[in-house]
Amino acid sequence: MNVISTHIGQPVSRIDGVAKVTGQAKYAAEPHPPGMLYGVVVNSPIAHGRIETIHDTGARQVPGVIEIMTHLNRPHAALFEKSYMDGLGVPGAPYRPLHDGEIHFNGQPVAVVFAETFEAAREAAMLVRVDYERWPHNANFEVALHQKYMPSKTRSNYVPPKPRGDAAAAYALSAVKTEGRYHLAPEHHNPMEMHATTVIVEDDGTFTVWDKTQGPQAVQAYLASALSLSKDQVRVRNPYVGGAFGSGLRAVYNVFLATLAAKMLKRAVRVTLTRPQMFTHAFRPEAVMDIALGASRDSTLQSMIVKGVTDTSRFEHNMENIVIWGLINYRCPNATADYKVAPRDTYTSSDMRAPGAATGVNLLEMAIDEMAYACGMDPLAFRLHNYSDIDAMHDMPLTSKALRDAMAQGAQHFGWHDRSMIPGSMRDGRELVGWGMATGIWDAMFSPTSARARLGQDGRLHIATAASDIGTGTYTILAQTAAEAFGMPLDRIDIELGDSALPECPTEGGSWTAASAGAAVWLACHSLRTKLFAALARCKNAPSWARQDSVKLEGGALHGMNENAQDSLSLSDALSLTGQDVLEAEETAKPGLRGKISQMRKARFTHSAVFCEVRVDPELDTVRVTRLVNAVAAGRIMNPKTAASQIRGAMVMATGMALHEESLMDERVGRFMNHNFAEYHIPAHADIPDMDVLFVNEHDDEVSPLGVKGIGEIGMCGTAAAIANAIFHATGRRYRNLPIMPGA
């Protein structure tokens, strides 16, 4: 599509900004239906076993307690595991909340107390006592590694590594070799809003479920299936989502439990998880990668051998693409990779921002830095020397790859060329200064999506799709797209998202929403324009200039052209003339035949080059990140203001990955024990320097209809490695485990 940009690409402020800064934006735990009960979940303190007895007498005596729901008294829910499958495609047998007395993981819900007030429910929940029969469990990752396996059925998005050449032989013959085991600690998403559900029982007995999710239609389908309801009986809403980063990709147990209870008690209920309970579901898997690299004396990569393992639960086989990225991104004639999962008695690990790549790209880029140093070559020069213009793993051309430009512009902006190669050679007073860099890569995806455009008598354009804006700026960029496509000022556009009743949109994630929902809105607006012009052309009482081909829609009004350039007609008047109250169009954007062929013939990725400065106190071993520059090649940027915030936000999370975040397992009980913000550190204001984001010009008509690649994850990829590599440059010490805590 050829888009002349007056709205797309402009640094517009968020259109949901006023709602958010005034506290008017309603999140999942915030509607207050009359007679609502509060539910507080009681979790299992053991990792594996069976409930023997539940003692709830004391809890039931707390005034205001209405019911204590357990596996023994819950109403009917679907029996078979397949009814609990969600759209994410994790193979295995999904966990069924309150299904029976068996315990599969520490933190598993065993009871939910419902009371008239939150305080009563909380107090009663503390009084529920449960006796368990304890069975052996393993929560130790090293032990789990001995049981690693390849699932017979793989996840739908899993990309099997494709070897080339003879990596083992080439490694043996290489003049320069590096080899090491790299490790990433498990991490928890920890969006600021805790997962919560408010269920409203409507007069007709249907349920309106306000849930913190990234996919209202996925949750609707899940609830209908798991609770044996028809889809008409469940509507899921999530107009505002207080962050998610992947924790809301799958239905979290609170939504099942709240809806089950509303069915049981025929009353509105709210179930909000506590912060510690946020550590009882999704998390980024712990990972190890064994990386062996071989190069010739001229710094040319000759061999790459990557073996990776991530953890999963006993009941599902979560898989990530962690080992493929180097094989794709580097021109190395011999390469192979292997991937397995290791089972533990925990909940299933899950997708967290840039799943797979955040782990695989960062760990690999740390190894690449080691190899550059082993070759005695500047790390940026080394990457340029081994640059691949194609997807080297699939031997496939790319729709675009402006990574060279990103490297050059990022380096220029950072001042990389003033860097001294020798570690520990750049000091400022007593502080050691280190400069490091890395590159990033992430998929550019496009999923079929529908959107509706409607013009009303008030002359406003109303856009609707079941997308979720989890803070990504979707409201704003869709308004910009509609403004552009329809010829409408931004302030006369309403965007409605976050409702399962709206036109079909896939679960938000993977950075595909901008490309996909954007294309759907674009099509729907064009279709609506065409409808309006056609209706006017048929209209006998419309002015003659408006009935011809020479009419244009600009600035929210119809204008004549040429000799009729002075004539105009408001959209409300135009609609009145056609005799209709509303005019509506719904369209679905999908790759189409040409798109599908293109997808088979060309690979598509976003790329980035990240540059970092750290300062290390040599006595205290404290690390401060003092500068970060990220140059991103992500096709068309819909809104540079919100896009830069997206990249910065991911860089903050990657700083956490590099230096702070680590979910620590108490192996005796199989529980993540640092389950709060005091002990699970996420970066705070004082940890984060000013960060510069550059968007490299990258024109790509093939990747998606609007030339958009998506920017939600790319900021994670490479940033943690750039920090790690800067720490090496400052100190001369290599750290292969993330997070890096030199003083610890």
């Binding site: 800064v21 005034t22 805790m194 912060r275 204001h685």
Partner: protein, 168 residues
């Protein structure tokens, strides 16, 4: 008798309105605002005083409302995010947050704004480093930290300009 059957008088002024009721002593100021008064602009992010999402002003000072029992601050003046816009006009800090793109999901935002308003009163605004230090009790998982500091600096410099204007 359980604690929940006890009720204690609670008297506050919230966003300029008098509030009085008998409450169980275990009701936090945060839960009073969110669950009993429908002032859901104040957010619950941890309920442990660790994240700052629940920051409100009590007698002009920023506090974490999840750590305060509602009945423990009789006759206090409470200001929440719903109480800072005047006559339908945004508070300068609210406008600056929009202009500087100082939020993404918006969940920590009311707490950040209330904290920032108090920060200006406290005067911890002499450098970006000082602002960062004194805003570090308000976590933001979307990582809007740069925007938040920019927003606060905008308001600070506008105040300085206004003061300079008045002095002249």
């Amino acid at each position: 008798m359980t604690r929940e059957s006890v009720a204690v008088p609670c008297r506050l002024q919230i966003n300029g309105q008098d509030y009085s009721a008998d409450l169980p002593p275990s009701v936090t100021l945060l839960d009073l605002l969110r669950e009993r008064l429908d002032l859901t602009g104040t957010k619950k992010g941890c309920d442990h005083g660790q994240c700052g999402a629940c920051t409100v002003l009590v007698d002009g000072k920023r506090v974490k409302s999840c750590l305060i029992l509602a009945v423990s601050i009789p006759d206090s003046v409470v200001t929440t995010i719903e109480g800072i816009a005047q006559d339908g006009r945004l508070h300068p800090m609210q406008q600056a947050f929009i202009d500087a793109d100082a939020f993404q999901c918006g969940y920590c935002t009311p707490g950040q704004i209330m904290s920032a308003i108090a920060l200006l009163e406290e005067g911890h605004i002499h450098s970006r480093a000082e602002i960062r230090e004194f805003m570090s009790g308000n976590l933001c998982r979307c990582g809007a930290y740069n925007g938040i500091i920019n927003a606060i600096e905008q308001v600070v410099s506008r105040q300085h300009r206004n003061q300079a204007g008045e002095a002249a």
